[in-house]
């Protein structure tokens, strides 16, 4: 390749990357930027990509919302243009954050507790019905979630779990576990069978082989499962909308969505809530950053 061709290639790649980044990051940049703007500044034309009068008023409102009661009357008293008002359901935001967190963490832990033994067993133990169970696990992923809403609802209602966090945990497990197991099976299969044999000859039971030898070796796929299960649970909207009715079980997406159907829409407040909602996944991604690429490509290479 000539120097010129190499230069155009690099330039093309760089330009494409920048365009892609802009496309992906622009909405997030606007979300973050506008969360520091007052309602008046948000609607200004042309929009301010950098807040000219930055304010943390929106965030302050989130943390003080439980102190005030918002009704149609009190709302009218405030000045809509200044951003000094909050949606009537604002006080549900922090409890829903906690709910989302509890649900997501429980789902992650249970995914690992179920997925690791399942992945190890299917990959390393030859038992009758092994192939069939792999297909069964995969088949559950073919069914779209929306088709499951009604059966799920009936189950949850009959179990008396409507409007509880347990209803969300149970249904999110049904959605996430098959895929987690699938990721883990692939990763376990990529590790040599002889390691398994060596450990057992060395005196490990099956369980000890898994915990003492394989667990440290499958870390990248564990990270992939943590991220996957956390993100699915964190972002899930449809099932949460069906099963939760009161703030005691509502999750973040539900509460944030409720802000858009309030008396008046406060974009600055919604955007501040949005920033709060993307923080935990971002933190998680930063913690596990060095494993993410390895973990997510596992299924792609082999499987």
């Amino acid at each position: 390749m000539s120097a010129q061709a190499r230069f155009s290639r690099t330039a093309l790649l760089a330009i494409s990357s920048i365009l892609l980044l802009l496309y992906v990051l622009a909405p997030i940049a606007w979300l973050v930027s506008s969360s520091f703007q007052s309602e008046r500044e948000i609607v200004s034309k042309p929009p301010h990509w950098l807040p000219q009068e930055p304010t943390i008023g929106n965030f302050a409102a989130i943390f003080t919302s439980h102190e005030r009661s918002v009704t149609y009357e009190t709302r009218r008293a405030t000045d809509p243009a200044s951003g000094g008002f909050v949606p009537s359901t604002a006080k549900n935001l922090l409890p829903s954050l906690r709910n989302s967190f509890i649900v997501a963490c429980t789902v992650v832990v249970l995914n690992l507790l179920i997925g690791l033994p399942a992945g190890y067993a299917v990959a390393k133990i030859r038992f009758r019905g092994r192939q069939a169970s792999i297909y069964a696990i995969l088949a559950t992923r073919v069914i779209p979630d929306i088709a499951l809403v009604v059966p799920f609802f009936l189950f949850i209602r009959n179990l008396g779990l409507l409007d509880t966090l347990a209803s969300l945990i149970v249904t999110y497990l049904a959605i996430t576990v098959p895929f987690s197991v699938f990721i883990l099976i692939n990763y376990f299969e990529s590790l040599p069978d002889e390691l398994d044999k060596a450990a057992r000859v060395d005196g490990c039971s099956r369980w000890q082989t898994m915990t003492k030898i394989f667990l440290p070796l499958v870390t990248p796929s564990i990270v992939a499962v943590i991220l996957f299960a956390f993100l699915v649970s964190w972002n899930e909207f449809l099932l949460a909308l069906m099963f939760t009715q009161t703030p005691q079980s509502q999750t973040l997406p539900i509460v944030i969505a409720s802000f858009t159907s309030d008396f008046t829409i406060s974009f600055s407040f919604i955007n501040a809530a949005g920033v709060l909602a993307i923080l935990p996944p971002v933190i998680l991604a930063l913690i596990f950053e060095r494993y993410i690429v390895a973990g997510l490509t596992v299924g792609a290479v082999k499987g």
Binding site: P192, L195, K197, V201, G203
Partner: protein, 366 residues
Amino acid sequence: MTVASISFRGVTKRYAGAVVAVNHLDLEIYDKEFVVLLGPSGCGKSTTLNMIAGLEDITEGELRFDNVIVNAIPAHKRDVAMVFQSYALYPHKSVYENIAFGLRMRRVDRAEIDRRILDAASKLAISHLLQRRPSQLSGGQRQRVALGRAMVRQPAVFLMDEPLSNLDAALRISMRAEIKLLHTAMQTTFIYVTHDQAEALTLADRIVVMSDGVIQQIGSADEIYERPRNIFVASFLGNPQINYLHGTIDAVNGTPLFQCRELRIPLPPTAASYVGREVVLGIRPEDVSPHYDPPGVLSISGKVESVLPVGSDRFLGLRVEDRTIFVRVGKESHYREGERVTLGLTPERLHLFDAKTGVTLRGGGA
């Protein structure tokens, strides 16, 4: 559990899908013996080893350690150690921890672990590597670590599954010698799986030749090599391979004669009972001599097709009737391509097989 002897009684291993890996195996392995399971890949030798280790279930039959049936005893409760072809070192543990792991699992106390590891490490010359990770070692070093991991366990049975196959040729030969020394030093039963006949012949007290999940022959290296029970065993051992000539046995004046087209080779009188049979005559490359005395008694002639010097030796490709046979001649010999030669045969070193069954016909030669 210390083990003196291992015995297979009618052991069959069938995988799902009805693939039979090992078919009705009967085998006795005695205390402190060095047994080599030899055969081509897929012959069931590794499966047999895994069954001893407890890594594979037995479909039918009994496996006994010292007369106690162990079919249902899981691997971690059997007193066996194993060395694998891929070494199977734990990649996240240091060499020291790799070797210590089996002992820690068996709750051997710290000081004893340390003592055994240092001892094994010095015997295997890996003392300077103890703090490294397996990924930082060469193939030969990894193999030593794998050996060390098995040694420190001081197991009753020492299993090896093609432990030298991943090493280069020179290293393989020196490690072979070390394994033999190890057996002498450890005074335990060794069961060794390989497809390499040279390894089997050098190491084994007894060789078990397997094919298609069935034992073809059990015997010492000499027995197997000199008196193969069938064509499979005769072909599997020997390098270059044994030569075969297809023909019939006729009798001329009461003397049995092997006849293949124009070629006639007189056979020992013991072969008289096979007159009229279709047979295969096996001649090992080294069982010919440039001199035959008295002339004409037992000989084979043909045209030299190729001369193949291999350093210490010289082989001739000899055209005999419709096929080429390879024979070993002295390094000093001066045969030339195209030349017609007659070479002497030793009657007791000929092998005669039934053409249909492939089974050795006793008295036909060896």
